[in-house]
């Protein structure tokens, strides 16, 4: 992640790849305003969260009012309105996960990390929140860490997973900028990570 200072009122320049990516995206839509959501993703990926610099960047590149960018960013839950850890855990809390043990996962995370929801650990590695249905009900309970789903978890397997992540520090983003399949833990076949529940 490139470090950027959020200078008040000025528009930051993001990486060349990000700027190119946005230009390419804008050209795909009939109207450039439609690119606001991908633009916010790009800014978030580069800046870590939707800070003021991100708002200015998106507003400038798409010629939109600042208030509009904020209202869109604050409407959707996946744009972080405050900094998150390097690994942001989202625990699905909705019905199917709940009845299959999601509360145990949350309790375990709180116990292990000693932080509350939307807080970041002192070392900046972890943060977590409970989120609504992630569409992984057949593999409940589950969490999403950055972009990757980890399914069929127990407190123990989640604990082991977090140990591995701390040790290996993998890139768990499906980058909006890079657009490749680079994410994943070492030695883990992708098909395992992304198991879709298919009837046996």
């Amino acid at each position: 992640m490139t470090e950027h200072k959020s200078s008040n009122g000025t528009v930051p320049t993001l990486s060349a790849a990000a700027e190119d990516r946005l230009k390419q995206l804008v050209s795909r839509y009939p109207r450039s305003k439609s690119a606001i959501m991908p633009a916010l993703y790009i800014a978030q990926e580069e800046l870590g969260w939707i800070n003021d610099a991100a708002v200015h960047w998106v507003a400038d590149r798409l010629s939109l009012p600042l208030a509009h960018v904020i209202q869109v960013a604050t409407f959707y839950t996946m744009y972080y309105k405050q900094p998150v850890g390097k690994y942001h855990i989202q625990v699905c809390r909705t019905l199917s996960c709940m009845i299959c043990g999601a509360k145990d996962l949350t309790a375990h995370i709180k116990q292990r990390l000693k932080i509350g929801a939307h807080e970041v650990t002192n070392d900046g590695v972890w943060s977590f929140e409970e989120v609504e249905c992630l569409g992984s009900c057949g593999t409940a309970p589950m969490v999403q860490i950055n972009d990757v789903f980890f399914e069929n978890l127990t407190p123990e397997s989640l604990d082991a997973l977090m140990d591995r992540i701390e040790k290996e520090q993998p890139d768990l983003r499906y980058s909006t900028v890079r657009q490749d399949l680079g994410a994943g833990l070492s030695g883990e076949p992708k098909s395992r990570l992304y198991t879709a529940p298919v009837e046996s």
Partner: protein, 427 residues
Amino acid sequence: MKHLKILTANVHHDDQIELDAYERRGGYQAIRKVLKMDPAEVTAEVKASGLRGRGGAGFPTGVKWGFVPKNTGKPIYLLNNADESEPGTFKDRLLMERDPHLVIEGMMIAAWALGANWCCAYIRGEYSFPALMQQRAVDQAYEKGYLGKNIFGSGFDLDIVVHRGAGAYICGEETGLIESLEGNKGQPRIKPPFPAVVGLYGCPTVVNNTETLAALPWIMLNGASSYNSIGTEKSTGTKLFSASGHIKKPGVYEVNMGYPILDFINNECGGMRGDKALKAVITGGSSVPVLRADELEGVTLDYESCMEAGTFVGSGGFIVMDETTDMVEACLNLQHFYSHESCGQCTPCREGAHWVEKIVGRIYHGGGSSSDLSLIGDVTKQIAGHTICPFGDALVVPVQSFYKKFPEEFNERIDSALVSQIGNTHV
């Protein structure tokens, strides 16, 4: 019972995500055929198939296409609604992850029938991986010349854009989706006008669910009569059900419409996990009324039977709960979902969703009283039907149906709350 595999015939092949593998297994044949047909013929075929919208509303797809006015001079847009956010639903994810070219071919067929040259797959933001797989497949199709200009030498141009949402259930509502895609908050529009007339950028627009679109290649290859020979009279074809909860084999299953619910639980789902007793089932995602175990006998998975039983097929989000489930807690869980997802635009939903959650919450936490039940009745009555979009109707479903079906669990909470309050006065 032998179920026809229309949508999931190839999802178990790991290489199905590749264009050549898809094509080798018969893919991109339907579109070649369709491009030689008159668009009106395609619409007529889809209408005849009886295919109904698989996102939840169950509106006949061909009829929906027919609402699009012709020759307005404006472009027509096709939007693939892959904002699969209904709790308990994960079927479109399977299609995008495991057979993304099938979805593309479905979009191509619908686009041809509608005369749309720009099509967007709006995929919920949390589905990063499905979006990536869908994008990958679209890229392959462009590379091969199957998308872009002059598709298969037909003179037909089609662009497909994969667009990710960012965490908002309401974008699954078609006008919320359109607003979101236009670059706004995903707040549903007041209707009329309807999207078929005034949709994306003010142009005629059709929004179809991913599963609906994915059924099109098979229908066009095999004919409407093959499709409507499966299922029941008003529920033709097959449907994906996403099974989750206290069952042995959760997952996505494609079954013929009209399949008995109990067979589905006992066969496909493998029966109850830990061999506990079945308590309740939600057949079509959290927005449809819950059914008690004793109501399931004779109910089949199709629009008519579910409706007769007082519920809906909905999105096919099939959630099974066993005897250990606390129905007040389950209800509170869903009411929290709805208050979290209320877009905040119109008064009854913005304020009412949270109020309902708070009332159920105090019942659950032991602070409820018997008057809360009539209050819930009043409040939910004034939310349903009084909002801009169907979210208001959906948000009252859990509390209304859970209380109706399991009154003793609510009453027990309230009674024990009274006891503990009386007890406290003696301390």
